[in-house]
């Protein structure tokens, strides 16, 4: 009996670990290192309607305990993803969470309609941190109404459950999460990166050509944990947690905060074997701690009554 198989809408996972979108490409590179069928799921790189080159380089910069990236959604475009990348992944026994992005609602709808019909795509992940060109460039993820409307539009055309990936760069994430739940989302993924910048002392310019970038890695873990702790108490759809996960202990912390599965992003760059290593380590920890099933831990930090002096 497995201690950590997880069933979420569209995601029938052997274990709760998946690589995070954008940190695993479309799996080809990692497939040379280990068997992808051992993963709980795979979140693939954001797919857009048309191919995108993305931002100029440098696209990454290092920061204390984290990194910035401004890849700019580089991807081969919907057509190639469906024709080449997804079939490659179909050889593995692993559910695919297809991350989709765009700059108009129509973009998202177009990608969602087609990608959700791919045989091995079992769920969608809406990346709503992208700037909304119609709304003057503000991100889809910062306004509850805009986010809800997008969710509704995508739900309408999708053949598979839809997860919405929240941006942490907001005043009140619970408000947005609730609006998205009400709009029919099947789950949430959180968090995307924090907006950050690093300036190079020699050039006196931002290190990243795009100037700002998304902060990921261990540095952001406390922000993600706080947000999941807050949101999980206010929604009843499951949360895929992420942000700075590097170990099985981190996974346990995310479950206690309220996550029902987790994604590992930046850590794949530090140690390309991190996902299978965490899976092994997690199973050992659960056995050692005599936790019958990891789902027992979901939200336990707030579910039991809290007494501050103990």
């Amino acid at each position: 009996m497995s201690r950590f198989d997880i069933q979420l809408p569209g995601l029938n996972m052997k274990n709760p670990i998946m690589p995070a979108s954008g940190c695993f490409g479309f799996g080809r590179e990692f497939s040379k290192l280990y068997d992808l069928s051992g993963l709980g799921a795979i979140a693939i790189k954001a797919t857009t309607d048309e191919p995108r080159f993305g931002n100029p380089t440098p696209r990454v910069a290092e920061t204390p305990g984290g990194m910035l990236n401004a890849i700019g959604l580089q991807n081969p475009g919907l057509e190639k993803v469906v024709a080449e990348e997804l079939p490659f992944l179909a050889d593995y026994d692993v559910p695919i969470l297809a991350n989709i992005a765009g700059t108009t609602t129509e973009d998202y709808v177009a990608v969602a309609r087609t990608v959700s019909k791919a045989p091995n795509v079992t769920a969608l992940e809406l990346n709503i941190s992208c700037p909304n060109v119609k709304e003057g460039g503000i991100s889809f993820g910062t306004d509850p109404n805009v986010a809800a409307e997008l969710t509704r539009a995508v739900k309408e055309v999708s053949d598979v459950p839809v997860y919405v990936k929240l941006s942490p760069n907001v005043t009140d994430i619970t408000e947005i999460a609730q609006a998205i739940e009400a709009a029919g989302a099947d789950g949430l993924a959180m968090i995307n990166t924090l907006l950050g910048m690093r300036i190079d002392l020699k050039s006196e310019k931002p290190v990243i050509a795009n100037r700002t970038g998304g902060l990921s890695g261990p540095a952001i873990k406390p922000v993600a944990i706080r947000m999941i702790y807050e949101v999980s108490q206010r929604v009843s759809i499951p949360i895929i947690g992420m942000g700075g996960i590097t170990s099985a202990d981190d996974v346990l912390e995310y479950f206690l905060a309220g996550a029902s599965a987790v994604a590992v992003g930046t850590a794949n760059f530090v140690n390309p074997f991190v996902c299978p290593e965490i899976i092994t380590e997690l199973e050992e920890k659960l056995t050692e701690k005599r936790i019958d099933h990891i789902s027992d831990l979901i939200g336990r930090s707030w579910k039991s009554c809290y007494s501050p002096s103990s």
Binding site: A61, G65, P272
Partner: protein, 254 residues
């Protein structure tokens, strides 16, 4: 598991580090690189890409040369003999050896910390009975390294910007002035240098090794892309880490 067996400063801020381990047996292609984790904690977080400079397959030893200047390389410079080194690699595609025939002449042009991979390349070319000529550019005498080692393999010209060693000027100045004959050109160094070589020397057969800031180092994150030359679509690219770092002339928009 790899272990540091030798570590020494050989020029201003330049270190020579040799490590030993099973993985070294895969390092047969000059121009490939290693992705090295310099700290045990997550600070610094990312690995550092460093070229393979020399390999002793029998002793399973690999030597790298690096400049200790930033946070990560300074930390690397503190590793003592005997400690473990977390190395990923060999990564990427190096210099092709079979595109030059026995008896032909190769010119190897290195700039600064782009010099190291040319050493292993030169050794491999000499093994194949290719005649090698080296042009090594440094900022100043204090920055120069491995000049004697290159001289053992073939004619070696050194240029320095301030003229404190060898020819005064850039490697391209030297090339125009002295115009050594060659069949194939191989180069590694800062992108402006590679660009100048391409534009000013316009070689027929040439290979360039490029640099870019990296995330994963294995082709998964799209951090290290560069544009394909004369691409009308505007979105064709190569990844330096997995398609390169070495590219034939004319492929990449330098």
């Amino acid at each position: 598991m790899t272990k540091v067996v030798h570590h020494e400063q050989i020029a201003d801020k330049i270190y020579e580090l040799t490590f030993e381990g099973e993985m070294v047996t895969d390092m047969v292609e000059p121009g490939q690189f290693l992705h090295i984790r310099v700290g045990d904690q997550y600070m610094p977080l990312l690995r550092r890409p460093i070229s393979i400079c020399d390999v002793d397959l029998d002793r399973k030893q690999c030597t790298i040369l690096y400049r200790a200047e930033g946070e990560g390389t300074l930390l690397l410079s503190q590793k003592r003999k005997g400690v473990r080194l977390d190395v990923l690699g060999p990564l990427g595609n190096g210099f092709p050896l079979d595109t030059i025939a026995e008896g032909e002449t190769a010119i190897l042009i290195g700039g600064g910390i782009g010099v190291p991979p040319l050493y292993y390349l030169s050794k491999k070319l000499v093994e194949r009975n290719v005649r090698v000529v080296h042009v090594l550019g440094f900022a100043s005498k204090k920055d120069a390294f491995y000049v004697d080692a290159f001289e053992q393999l073939g004619t070696t010209a050194v240029t320095t910007i301030d003229g404190t060693l060898g020819y005064q000027g850039f490697v391209t100045d030297y090339m125009k002035q002295e115009a050594p004959a060659y069949d194939v050109l191989y180069s590694c160094g800062p992108t402006p240098m590679l660009k100048a070589i391409e534009e000013q020397l316009n070689p027929d057969r040439a290979y360039f090794s490029l640099e870019e800031r990296m995330g994963c180092g294995i082709g998964a994150c799209f951090a290290c892309v560069c544009s394909v030359k004369d691409d009308p679509t505007g979105h064709r690219y190569r990844k330096i880490c997995s398609d390169g770092p070495v590219f034939p002339q004319g492929v990449i928009q330098l």
